[in-house]
C-alpha cells in the first residue's frame, strides 16, 4: 500500500508540473503568437514586431526550453520519489 500511495503522490506532482508547463506552452504560442498578436505587434524589439516574433521565433525557442526544463525537472522528481530506473 505504501508504495502505491507513493506512486499516486508522484503522479499528482507530475500532473501539476505538466499543467504549469502546458500553460506556458499555450501562452507563448496560441497566446502571444495568435490571440494577442495584434496587441503585441504595437511593440517593436529590434527589427521585430513582438507578436510576429513570438509566432515565428520566440515560440520555438520557448518550446525548446520547456522540453529541456521538463526533462531535468522530472529527473529530479524521479530521484525525490525514488522511482527512477
Amino acid at each position: 500500500m505504501q508504495q502505491q500511495d507513493l506512486a499516486q503522490r508522484y503522479w499528482r506532482r507530475n500532473q501539476q508540473i505538466i499543467i504549469i508547463y502546458l500553460i506556458i506552452w499555450f501562452l507563448v504560442s496560441y497566446g502571444a503568437g495568435i490571440l494577442f498578436v495584434d496587441y503585441l505587434n504595437q511593440y517593436q524589439v529590434f527589427g521585430f514586431k513582438l507578436g510576429y516574433w513570438f509566432a515565428n521565433q520566440g515560440s520555438v525557442l520557448a518550446f525548446c526550453m520547456l522540453t529541456v526544463a521538463y526533462a531535468l525537472r522530472m529527473n529530479r522528481l524521479d530521484n525525490e520519489f525514488d522511482v527512477h530506473e
Binding site: Q3, Q4, A7, Y10, W11, N14, Q15, I18, Y21, L22, W25, S29, Y30, G33, I34, L35, V37, D38, N41, V45, F46, G47, F48, K49, Y52, W53, A55, N56, Q57, S59, V60, L61, F63, C64, L66, T67, V68, Y70, A71, M74, N75, D78, V83, H84, E85
Partner: protein
C-alpha cells in the same frame, strides 16, 4: 566541374553512405527491426527523429510558403515544433514505459480489444500512405529539378534506395542513416541561409539577421512590409487570415505531430523513460535549428524576388535583363511570366497572373520559333492568362508573375550568387529530407502489417523469424504502392499531407492521451471516439478539398487544414460520454495504466 556532375557526385556519394550505414547496422531480430533493439542513445534518437520528421515539405516548400504568405503561415512554424512539447510531456515517457513496438500495440493492449487494434492499424496505414506518397513525389521532383530526369525515373530511384536500406536495416538501419541524413540536410539548408543573411544584413545568424537592418538602414521586416503593401499584398508581418482559422490550423498541426505514428515509434527505441524525455528535447532542438532560420530565408527571398523583378525604380525589369536563374526556373515551370500590359517588362504585384483555382500557368507546348512566339505575350505560351485587371488605388500595376513557393529554397544559392557545390549540396539535402521521412513511414507500414495485423490479430503462433520475413515483404509491397501513389498522386499533394495531420490529430492523439491520463476510459469510449474523430475529419476534408465545398460553408470559419483539431475535440467528447455509459475497464488494465505512469518497473501483474 560542371553543376550537373557535382550534383550527381553529391547525390551518389550520399546514397552510398546511407546504404553502407544500413548494411553495417542491419537488423537480425524483430526487436532490432521494430525498435532498433531499444538501445539508441537519446542524442542519436533526437537527431534521427528530427530527420524523420522534417520532410521534403519542410525542406523545400515551407520557406516558400512563409515567403509568399508571411504571418499567415506562422501556424506551420508553431504547429510543427509545438507538437514536440506535447510529445515530451504527455506521450513519449509513458509509451516508452509501456515498452512495446507500435502505436496499435498500445491502443490494442490498453483498450483490451482487437477491434481497437485493427481500427488503429487502419488509421496508421491511412496516415502513412497519404504521407509517404507525398515524400515519393518530393524525391521525384527533386531529381527532375536538379538532374533533369523525368519525375517517374526519380521516384523509381528513390524507391530503390529506400527499399534497400529500410528493408535490410529495419529501424536500426534507418536510425543511423537518419543521423547522417540530418547532418546533410541541416548543412545544406544553413550554408545558403548563412550566406544570404550575411550578404543582406552583415549578421551571421539568420535568426538575428531577420531582426537586423539592411544596408539602407531600415529593418528587414519593416522594409519588406513596405514593399509588399505598396504592391497590394497584405502586410508580411500581420497577414490576412482570421485568428480563429490560424488557431485551428496551428492546433491541428501541433496535435497531429504528436499523433503521427512514425514520430511516436521513435521513442520506443531509447533504453529508459528519462531518455525518452530528453530525446524529445534533443529532437526539438535539432528541428529548431532549421525552423528558426526558415522565416529569415523566407523574408530575404521575398525581398530579393521583389527587388529583382520590379527593379530599382519599381517599374519592372526587361525580360532580357533578368538574371540567368530566372530563365532556368522558367524552363522548369516554377516561375512564369505573362506580359499583361505588353511593355516587355516583368512586373510583380498582388493578384493572379493566371486564372484557375491555384493560379498556376497552364503551359501550352508549341514549337519554339519566333513566329509562334510573337503570337503570345509571354516566353512560354499559356492557355489561362487572367484578364490583367487591377485596382490602381492599391497597386501600381497588374501582377504578371507566377511564383511557385518551392523556388525560394531551390533558387536561393543562385540568387545569392553562391558556388556550384552549394547548389549540389542543396540537392543532396532535399533528397535526404524526402528519403529519411519516407523510410520512417515505410517502417511503420511494415510493422503495422507484420506485427499488429499478422502476429497480434491473425496468426499469433508465427516465429520471430517468420514475422521478420513478413515485415520485409510488407515493406516491399509498401514501397511499390507508395511509388505508385507518388506517380499518380491522389489530388494535390499539399491537401493530402494536410489530411494526414488532420487524421492523426483526430484519431490517435486523444486515444493515447486518454489511455494514459484517464484510467476510467474503456474500449467502447476509445473506439467510438476514434471513429467519430476520423470520420468527421475525413468527411470535412473530402467535402471541401475534393467535392467543391466553398469557403462560405466553413464551420465557424475553420479551413479543412484546421479541422483535425475540431475532430479531436469531438473524439474527446464522444469518448467521455460513451465510456460513462459503459462498464469501466478491467482491474488488470487499470493496474497497467498505474504502472506506465511510474518510470521504475513495479512488477505488476500485466507483464
Amino acid at each position: 566541374m560542371s553543376l550537373e556532375l557535382l550534383t550527381y557526385l553529391f547525390v551518389v556519394v550520399s546514397f552510398a553512405i546511407y546504404i553502407f550505414i544500413a548494411f553495417w547496422s542491419r537488423s537480425a531480430t524483430t526487436h532490432d527491426f521494430y525498435v532498433a533493439g531499444g538501445g539508441v542513445t537519446p542524442l542519436a534518437n533526437g537527431m534521427a527523429t528530427a530527420a524523420d520528421w522534417m520532410s521534403a515539405a519542410s525542406f523545400i516548400s515551407l520557406a516558400g510558403v512563409i515567403s509568399l504568405s508571411g504571418y499567415d503561415a506562422s501556424g506551420y512554424v508553431m504547429g510543427w515544433t509545438g507538437g514536440y512539447v506535447l510529445l515530451a510531456l504527455l506521450l513519449a515517457p509513458y509509451l516508452r514505459k509501456f515498452g512495446k513496438f507500435t502505436v496499435p500495440d498500445f491502443v490494442g493492449d490498453r483498450y483490451y480489444s482487437n477491434v481497437a487494434r485493427v481500427v488503429a492499424v487502419v488509421c496508421v496505414l491511412f496516415i502513412s500512405f497519404t504521407y509517404i506518397s507525398g515524400q515519393m513525389r518530393g524525391t521525384g521532383i527533386v531529381f527532375s529539378r536538379f538532374l533533369q530526369v523525368e519525375i517517374e525515373t526519380g521516384i523509381m530511384i528513390g524507391m530503390a534506395v529506400v527499399f534497400i536500406y529500410a528493408v535490410l536495416g529495419g529501424m536500426k538501419g534507418i536510425t543511423y542513416t537518419q543521423v547522417a541524413q540530418y547532418c546533410v540536410m541541416i548543412f545544406a539548408f544553413n550554408v545558403p541561409a548563412l550566406f544570404l543573411t550575411f550578404t543582406m544584413t552583415g549578421h551571421l545568424l539568420p535568426q538575428t539577421g531577420l531582426g537586423a537592418t539592411l544596408e539602407s538602414g531600415t529593418y528587414v521586416l519593416e522594409h519588406l512590409d513596405g514593399l509588399v503593401e505598396e504592391l497590394g499584398f497584405a502586410s508580411f508581418t500581420e497577414g490576412s487570415k482570421s485568428s480563429v482559422d490560424i488557431f485551428f490550423i496551428t492546433a491541428a498541426l501541433m496535435f497531429g505531430t504528436a499523433g503521427l505514428p512514425h514520430v511516436i515509434v521513435r521513442f520506443f527505441t531509447v533504453p529508459r523513460v528519462r531518455d525518452a524525455r530528453i530525446s524529445a528535447a534533443w529532437a526539438l532542438a535539432f528541428i529548431a535549428v532549421l525552423y528558426t532560420s526558415i522565416p529569415a530565408v523566407a523574408a530575404f527571398g521575398r525581398i530579393n524576388l521583389i527587388e529583382t523583378v520590379n527593379g530599382p525604380e519599381g517599374q519592372g525589369t526587361y525580360y532580357e535583363d533578368m538574371p540567368n536563374w530566372f530563365q532556368k526556373w522558367e524552363t522548369a515551370g516554377l516561375i512564369a511570366w505573362y506580359d499583361h500590359n505588353g511593355d516587355g517588362r516583368l512586373q510583380y504585384a498582388a493578384g493572379g497572373a493566371y486564372t484557375g483555382q491555384d493560379e498556376r500557368p497552364d503551359f501550352w507546348e508549341v514549337p519554339d520559333d519566333p513566329v509562334s512566339r510573337s503570337m503570345f505575350n509571354s516566353t512560354r505560351p499559356v492557355l489561362n492568362p487572367s484578364d490583367g485587371s487591377f485596382d490602381p488605388e492599391v497597386q501600381p500595376f497588374a501582377n504578371e508573375l507566377f511564383v511557385d513557393p518551392d523556388i525560394m529554397v531551390l533558387a536561393n544559392p543562385e540568387v545569392a550568387g553562391l558556388p556550384n557545390w552549394v547548389i549540389a549540396l542543396v540537392a543532396a539535402g532535399a533528397m535526404a529530407a524526402a528519403l529519411s521521412t519516407a523510410a520512417g513511414l515505410l517502417l511503420v507500414i511494415a510493422t503495422a502489417v507484420s506485427h499488429d495485423l499478422v502476429k497480434k490479430t491473425m496468426r499469433p503462433d508465427i516465429t520471430d523469424k517468420q514475422e521478420l520475413t513478413i515485415a520485409r515483404v510488407a515493406a516491399m509491397v509498401g514501397v511499390l504502392l507508395a511509388g505508385y501513389l507518388g506517380m499518380n498522386p491522389p489530388g494535390y499533394v499539399a491537401a493530402v499531407v494536410a489530411m494526414a495531420f488532420g487524421l492523426a490529430c483526430a484519431s490517435f492523439f486523444p486515444a493515447i492521451i486518454m489511455g494514459i491520463f484517464y484510467q476510467r476510459m474503456n474500449k467502447y469510449g476509445a473506439i467510438s471516439g476514434m471513429l467519430v474523430g476520423l470520420g468527421s475529419t475525413l468527411a470535412y476534408i473530402i467535402y471541401f478539398k475534393f467535392m467543391g465545398g466553398s469557403q462560405e460553408q466553413w464551420l465557424f470559419g475553420i479551413s479543412p487544414e484546421g479541422f483535425g483539431a475540431m475532430g479531436m475535440i469531438l473524439n474527446f467528447l464522444v469518448a467521455y460520454l460513451v465510456s460513462h455509459l459503459t462498464p469501466p475497464p478491467p482491474i488488470a488494465i487499470q493496474q497497467m495504466v498505474q504502472d506506465i505512469r511510474v518510470p521504475r518497473n513495479q512488477g505488476s501483474a500485466y507483464y
